[in-house]
Symmetry: C2
Subunit: 228 residues, 2 copies
C-alpha cells in the first residue's frame, strides 16, 4: 500500500539537488575513445596515460577498466576509429580512381593523427580496417588481378601507404624548426659522407610530403593497374 502523499511531498517541491550528484555524462566506450583521440592529438602517444585520460573524463582511472580491458585495447580501438575517417568511394567509381582516392585518404587520415602510425606494430583487424582492405582487394580483382599477383599488389600498396604515413608523420611531429635546422646542418656538415643527400634537395623540402606521396602512388598504380 503506497504511503499517502502529504501536501509537502509534491514532485515539484522535492529537493532535486539533494539527490546523488548527477555525473556530467555517463561514461561509455565511445566517449572514452573520443577522449583518447583528443588527448593523443593534443599530446602524443607517450603522454597518454589512463590516469590523465580519466582526469579529462572526470572519473577515476580505475573506472575506465569497466569499459575497456587494457590500455592496449583502447589504443587498438583509437587506431581503428582513425581509419574509420577514411572515405570509401562509391561502388561505381572505377578501380583506378577509387583506389587512388581511398589510399590517399588513408594516408591523410593517419598523417592528420600523427600518433596513429606508431601504433601500427599491432595487428590491424578492426572492422574499419577490414572494410577498407576489402575495398582495396575488391577493386584489384575488378581490375583483373588474382592469385599471387593480387597478393603481391595488395601487400605493396598497404606497405606503401602505411610506411609513407609513418615516415611523414614522424617528421610532422617535430614542430621545432630549430630541430629541423639541426638535421639539415648535420647532413650538410658531412657533405663528404653524404654527397648526394647534401646536394639533391633531400634536406630542403621543396615539395610537401603529401605531394610526393600522391605522385609516387600514382606511378605505382600505373604499373599495377591495367586501366586508368
Amino acid at each position: 500500500m503506497p504511503a499517502e502523499a502529504t501536501s509537502s511531498d509534491v514532485f515539484w517541491l522535492r529537493d532535486e539537488v539533494a539527490r546523488p550528484p548527477r555525473r556530467n555524462t555517463p561514461l561509455s566506450l565511445a566517449r572514452i575513445i573520443d577522449a583518447a583521440i583528443t588527448e593523443l592529438d593534443a599530446t602524443g602517444v607517450d603522454r597518454l596515460t589512463m590516469r590523465r585520460l580519466a582526469e579529462r573524463l572526470e572519473v577515476t582511472s580505475t573506472a575506465l577498466y569497466w569499459h575497456v580491458k587494457t590500455k592496449e585495447d583502447l589504443l587498438d580501438l583509437a587506431l581503428d576509429h582513425v581509419v574509420g575517417e577514411v572515405p570509401v568511394p562509391a561502388p561505381d567509381v572505377p578501380p583506378r580512381a577509387g583506389l587512388q582516392k581511398l589510399l590517399v585518404g588513408w594516408y591523410s587520415a593517419m598523417v592528420a593523427h600523427p600518433w596513429s602510425p606508431s601504433l601500427l606494430g599491432r595487428p590491424l583487424l578492426g572492422p574499419n580496417v577490414l572494410t577498407r582492405t576489402e575495398y582495396i582487394q575488391a577493386k584489384l580483382v575488378e581490375d583483373g588481378l588474382a592469385g599471387k599477383d593480387l597478393a603481391a599488389v595488395t601487400h605493396t600498396l598497404a606497405g606503401l601507404v602505411l610506411g609513407s604515413a609513418m615516415a611523414d608523420a614522424t617528421w610532422q611531429r617535430i614542430d621545432d624548426p630549430a630541430a629541423i635546422a639541426k638535421v639539415r646542418a648535420h647532413i650538410l656538415d658531412s657533405a663528404d659522407r653524404y654527397p648526394t643527400l647534401s646536394t639533391s634537395g633531400f634536406v630542403d623540402a621543396g615539395w610537401s610530403d603529401n605531394e610526393l606521396f600522391a605522385l609516387g602512388l600514382d606511378r605505382v598504380l600505373d604499373q599495377f593497374l591495367g586501366t586508368k
Copy 2:
C-alpha cells in the same frame, strides 16, 4: 721510500682473491647495445626495461645512465645498429641491381628483428641509416633521376620498405598458430562483409611475405628505373 719486501710479501703468494672483485667485463656503450638487441630479440620491445637489461649485464640499472642518456637514446642506437647489418652493394653494381639488393636487405634485417619496425616512429638519423639513404639516392641519380621525381621516388621506396617490414614483422611476432586461426575464422565467418578477402586467398598465406615483397619491389623498380 718503498717498504722493504718481507719473504711473506711475494707476488705469487699474494691473495689475489681478496682484491676488489673484478667485474666480469667493463660496461661500454657497445656492450649495452648488444645486450639490448639480444634482449629485444628474445622478449620484444615492451618487455625491455632498464632494470632487466642491467640484470643481464650484471650491473645496477642506474649504471646504464653513465653510458646512455635515456632509454629512448638506447632504442635509437639499437635501431641504427640493426640497419648497420644491411649490406651496401659495391660501387660498381649497376643502379637497378644495387637498389634491389639494398632494399631487400633492409627489409630482411628489420623482419629478422621484428621489434625494430615498431621503433620507426622516431626520426631515422643514425649514421647507418644515412649511409644507406645516401646509397639509395646516389643510385637513383646515377639512373638519371633529379628534382621532384628523385624526391618522390626516394620517398616511395623508403615508405614501401619500412611499411612492408612493419606489416610483416607484426604478423611474424604472432607465434601462436591458434591466434592466426582465429583471424582466419573471423574473416571467413564474416564472408558477407568481406566477400573478396574471404575468397581471394588473403587469409591463406599461400606465399611468404618475403616473396611478395620482392615481387612487388621488382615491379615498382621497373616503373621507376630506366635500366634493368
